[in-house]
Structures are given as structure tokens and as C-alpha cells.
Assembly symmetry: C4
Homo-oligomer: 170 residues x 4
């Protein structure tokens, strides 16, 4: 755990998967419309606090949702990558384009397409209901499921470890 | 508990947070539409009874939903304050505009932006799944989660304590 | 229990409340649209079987949903009464208009507005998450919650008690 | 169990029911629109992997959803049969039209209309919340409920048994 907290203090960048992390993995389908997805207000509040304190926030998803993209950008995300069928290629591009250092990155993902990126980042994390292959390679599994506050949990832990989660900032 | 029930007998005004209290904190996003939010029919029935008996009901939210506003006003809410990024400022204005006495106010909130107002009201309450910092300063944590009847629970308790929850009123 | 099963054999008419019985009590609100409500496919299948075997099915709700009305009428409901703020008055009219005998009626409701009708029908039932005042006056509380199969449970029990739940009918 | 795994190795074709299997059985109704249904992103990812490895995927439903049909066809389903009130007749036609062998077919269904087909296929399976009559005739009941990953569970088990669930394929 000491080791885990030390790693958290290095994190200044969050990359989140969408389906099963920011959402509970459900896609509500409706004829003639883009699918509906669920976001969590406690996650959203943590994103706003983190952005205000200078953390970089990214989304990296194989899915595609204009509605999620809009709301995340309004919540302080730096960039939102949707419809990325090759997550590793996108990740390599992100490292270059945004001058990211791998040890400063925390990634949270829940399923097999996240495997390759999770093996590279400084802090690999997942929700409580991630696929077993993903849990195996993560240093931290949240007690919260996807869409039920797993993002809030990890953002809050990083900000606490770095002294950024203080009542004055709320 | 005696003390808690005594406090309840003084309450004639309810102020509720929206996301995570009247809703379960989920925002369903859909391209080209305002987000969808969930309300609870048992909460709604209690609001109608309370309004009929003369209680004042307010919403104080950092979020914004025209659809929630419309339905709450139809259920007997006196006023609905949306998109209030500074909840304390709005709360001070409410005290003045509506001649409210702090010891007669019950507030229910679930997350950090509610902290400041919860510390001022007569009866500070929260749902079962509130943030730990919020539970710490509340006199009562409902056994019901946000959107699952926590508002009904507290409205019913106040009305019972004051003799207003009687079969003749249903 | 013997008494309960005997009562079930007399039932040829079902009256259901909507919110909290056929739905889980959630109303999803969306600007510019009627609220969205959730129905359960296992309930729906039982309604179709019951209608095919000649049972009468009614909805009696204080709420109002054109979408629920349409789908229930397609599933074999005889009549759907929405927006009935005085449930007792509507119930008395139903008895007359449809020549119903009280001992042949099973009602399922979950909240205070159902109290008055539940006290009159032959078989008073409720979902697992009904209000305590409702559970107190019901002969049967389903182990299923509203929207999670409580209607299927009770329709199936009546049809089994009367020999109408047979593989040949499925 | 040995017997079960051996049976899995023969499966090259999946047939799924829709409501209560790919969805949680909930139909969200909305005035003026087709009902909304929920799909699961982990199921969807497994469908894509299975299709890429040459498995045949079919949907056989008594319900009807254009939105679900479109998304399943994009995920690699061979054919999607909606609004099939006589599932056995449709199943017989599928056997002929697609040259299917019964012992190579795995079916997953949750309610009485699936009974007749489940009795014929090589591997009869159901979600954790299937009707008791369905569980009785299935060789395998998933620990996952409908809409919560029961399809992913069974697709993954078949692909593992046949050596098709390998990191190189993800």
C-alpha cells in the first residue's frame, strides 16, 4: 500500500475508458437516436475539482458518444478520444501530442481492449466489475463498479495523496 | 434520538439537493437533448402531501434540469433553484426572500457542494450513499439511497413527528 | 396459506397500480417529452397468457402515461384508468361498469393512495417494496419488487391455483 | 462438468433470446417512440470476438426492436429474427436455411416461449434470473442475470473451451 500511495503522488494525468468505467456498461438503444449512456454526478464533480487543480483528464474509448464527449469537455477534460479501435495506437499518439510521461499517468479500464494500455501506464486501475484478465494486471481495483463512482474514488485518492482534496477547494 | 425528534417537530421547510438525492446521481445523456434524470414516485407522493399541509419545499441544485423543475413545481414545490454554483449565496438569498428561520429548515444533500449549507440548517440530513464528508456533519443518514426514497423517508418522519402523517390526509 | 390459495381460486380479475407495481416507481424525466417508465417483459408475458385464458386485467393509476396505456391494451388489458386522483371513486365505477364481484378481484398496489381500494377487494397484494402501511393490510407481499416481476408472480400464482398455468398454454 | 465442457467444444452457433437475456427484461416506454432497451458492452465485445473467429450468432425474439437489430448486425450477428410469436417454427426454418446441426447450437433463453427450442438444442443455457421452468431444462444457468453479462459469460466459456479466447485475439 505504501508503494501504491507513493505511485499516486506522481499522477498528474488521468485516462478513463468510457463503457463500464464512466458508465455501468449499459447502452440504451432507441430507434432513430444515438444510444443513451449513463454518467455519475459524483464522478463529474471530482472531474471538475481535478481540472481546476490542473490535472489533465482524457477519455479513450472504443465506443462513440457525442453526448458524453460534450459533457466531459464541459467538465474540464483536455481531450476526448472516441471510436478508437486500436487503443494502443491512440495511446502512443497521446503520449507524443500531450508530452505525457507514463509514470505520471493513471488509467482506469474494465475490459480486454484496455489490457495493452494498462500494462504501460504508471498506475493501472479498474472498477469492481472489471473482467478478471483486467483485474489481474491492475495495482488497484476500486470497490465501486463502473458508473457507480469508481472514477470519483480514484480521482479522490490521487488528490488526497497529493494534498489537493481540501475543503477550501470544494 | 429524543433530541432528533424534537428537532424534527420544528421543521416546516425542506430544501433538497437534486443529483444524488431526488435522483440516484445518474445523468442519462442523449445527443441533441437535455440529460434524462430519474425521480421517485414515492418521494413525489410525499411532496404532494407535505405541500397540502403547508410545508415549504425548495430545490437547490448545482445542476440544471427544466424537466425536473416542471415536475417539482407541479408537485407543490414553492421554488426551484437550478444551476446554483455557489449554494451558500443562494441559500442566504432564500433565507431573506422567503423569511426562513434556520432552525425550521431541514436540508438533504449528498456531496461536497452541500457541505456549507448543511452546517447552517436546523436539521442536516443525507441519503445512505452520501459522500463520507457529508455523513460526518449530518444528524441523520437515511437508510434509503438517493432516488430510492430518501426524500420520502425524511418528509414522512417530519410529518409523523408533527402529527401530519395521518390516514385522513392521504 | 390454505386460506390464501382458496382465495386465489376465486380470482378472475386483476387490478394493478402503475408506479411502483408495474414500474419500479422511477419516472425518467426528459425536457419536452412525457416521462419514461419501465415495464417488465416477464410481467408482460403473464398478462398475455392471462388475457388469453379469459382473465380481466385493469390498470388503476393516479399517474398518467399514454405509452404505458398503449402497451397494456396491446397485452390484453380490458381497460386502463390513468390520472385517477380519487381511486375509490374510480373503483366503484369499475365495479358497476364491468359487473365485477369484489371477492373475485385481486388488487396489487404499493402506496397510500391504494389503501382504500386494497381494503375492499377479495385479495389484497403488494410488491416487496410497498409502503409499510400497505403491507400491513395485504394478505400477500410478493418477494419481487415493483417492476421486477411482482405482477408476474401474482398472475402466475392465481393461474396455477386455477389450473391455467400449463405448458400447453405457454 | 466434464460432459458440459465437451458439449461446449462442439458449439459453433449461438442463438440468443432478446428480452431478459441480452436485456434485463425492462422495456422503457416513451410516448411516440419505440421502447428503449438496454444492451451490455461486455456482451457486445464478446459478440465481436466470436464473429471474428467465425462463430454464427443469431437472435430469436418474440419482441421487436429495430434499434437492437441494427446494433447486433453491426456487432457481427448473422441474422436477427424479431417478432417471432412461434419460436419453434422460426427455429426449424433457421436449421434449414442456415444448415445448422442441433448439437452445434447453444441457445440462451429466460422465459416460457423459449422452452420448446431449449429442449432441442445441443446446449441449453439461461441467465441467473430465468423462470424456474426454464432453469429446470437447462444444462447451465449463468451466475449473471439478463443484461448483466450472461451472454458474455457463455460466449467466453465456449471460446475458452475451444481455444479461441486468447490474448492475441482480443
Amino acid at each position: 500500500m505504501e508503494n501504491f500511495k507513493t505511485k499516486l503522488t506522481r499522477v498528474n494525468t488521468f485516462i478513463f475508458d468510457m463503457d463500464g468505467v464512466l458508465t455501468n456498461g449499459t447502452i440504451w438503444v432507441m430507434h432513430g437516436h444515438d444510444p443513451i449512456r449513463n454518467l455519475n454526478s459524483k464522478d463529474g464533480y471530482a472531474f471538475q475539482l481535478a481540472a481546476k487543480k490542473g490535472y489533465k483528464l482524457f477519455l479513450l474509448s472504443g465506443g462513440n458518444s457525442v453526448a458524453v464527449k460534450e459533457i466531459l469537455l464541459r467538465s474540464g477534460f483536455t481531450e476526448v478520444y472516441m471510436a478508437q479501435h486500436d487503443k494502443d495506437a491512440c495511446y502512443q499518439k497521446m503520449l507524443t501530442d500531450h508530452n505525457l510521461k507514463q509514470e505520471e499517468i493513471l488509467y482506469m479500464g474494465d475490459d480486454l481492449p484496455d489490457h495493452c494500455v494498462l500494462k504501460q501506464v504508471g498506475v493501472a486501475t479498474c472498477p469492481a466489475d472489471a473482467a478478471p484478465e483486467i483485474k489481474d494486471i491492475c495495482i488497484y481495483t476500486s470497490q465501486k463498479k463502473g458508473g457507480e463512482g469508481c472514477a470519483r474514488d480514484i480521482v479522490e485518492q490521487v488528490m488526497r495523496a497529493r494534498g489537493d482534496w481540501e475543503i477550501a477547494n470544494w
